[in-house]
Amino acid sequence: MPDTPLVLREARYHQVKAVLARLRLDSGARVVFLVDKDGQQIAVQGEVGNLDTTSLASLAAGNVAATSGMAELIGEKEFPTLSHEGERESIHISVIGRLLLVVVFDEKSSLGLVKLRSKQISRQLTTLFDEIVRDDCQDVDAAFAEITDEDIDSLFN
């Protein structure tokens, strides 16, 4: 059976965005993402422009999954952070439970600052997501129970 769906309500979404906005401001980052470990983008904050955020989310999750696999092979549980430094743009990823906090930054910031600020908000994100998972979803179940076969068929017409 598939996992229970993760449901993000509008108010919660804005709470998540506010946390990301704060991190972006404090770290001087260009873009901040929150992604789940399966590669689904949850929220993004910053100068997205032409950045393909969906692909970036999926690749970040693949990256973390691969390095976690390597960690296990050498007897570690996982590597809690990953950093990739380029000539102009860099990426820092923090693993926070089932979430990945992805920060894209350039020379206006530094890896040290991004690491520090990411760590500082990780507890806040953990608490927020614990609450999101506990949110009552009965009305969501009811809404989707109304989906008909015709609704589904119409997607392919």
Binding site: D3, E10, D36, G39, G62, A65, A66, I152
Partner: protein, 194 residues
């Protein structure tokens, strides 16, 4: 794991194409990419070797349309088929909502199909899933080749639970969207059940 975002009114689901090496998993995605309007899909990302064999995964986001006011976005993944990439295959199954098994219909690939299907069941179990309870479609690919096993025989050998079985020639697109539709329908039906 299905992700429902009320702010963007989106339902996001993950579908994984599984099967032995060179069975046509990437070809399925490539056809969907080529045949879909650019506004309905994102980039096709292929993490492949220099000889175009899938190294880690292919990925393509696809928007199918709206159900009850929610955009339905399917994240399509393939796994590397070659036997020695098993660690990667396990990782890609995490959070899966639906699986397509692409079987190679050629007689000489029968053992590879059986081995890959067994591997799928085992890797799903390792992630806490049961194939019998997961949205699932069996695609019999390469039906245009001369040395194929008859459909009934392949079905008897590979089917697991009365899942939809689709005959396909992915290289020309035959059966590709029927397969996608069959699995997407099951995923959305699962969501309806709650």
């Amino acid at each position: 794991m299905t992700f429902i975002n009320y702010a963007s009114r989106e339902i996001n689901c993950k579908i994984v194409y599984y099967g032995p090496g060179l069975c046509g998993k990437t070809t399925n995605l490539q056809h969907i990419f080529d045949a879909t309007a650019p506004q309905a899909r994102g980039k096709l990302i292929s993490l492949a070797t220099e000889t175009d064999r899938t190294l880690f995964f292919d990925f393509m986001p696809l928007e199918l349309g709206t159900v009850r006011g929610f955009k339905t976005r399917f994240h399509l993944y393939t796994v590397p088929g070659q036997v020695f990439y098993d660690a990667s295959r396990k990782l890609i199954l995490k959070g899966v909502d639906g699986v397509v098994f692409v079987a190679d219909s050629q007689e000489e690939r029968m053992d590879a199909n059986v081995e890959s299907l067994y591997n799928l069941e085992e890797n799903l179990r390792a992630q806490g899933y049961d194939l019998m309870k997961l949205p699932y479609v069996l695609q019999l690919n390469k039906r245009d080749l001369p040395n194929v096993i008859p459909v009934d025989e392949l079905r008897d050998e590979l089917h697991r639970k009365g899942e939809p079985v689709v005959e396909a020639v992915a290289s020309v697109g035959t059966g590709v969207f029927d397969t996608l539709k069959a699995v997407a329908k099951q995923v959305l039906t699962e969501l309806r059940k709650g």
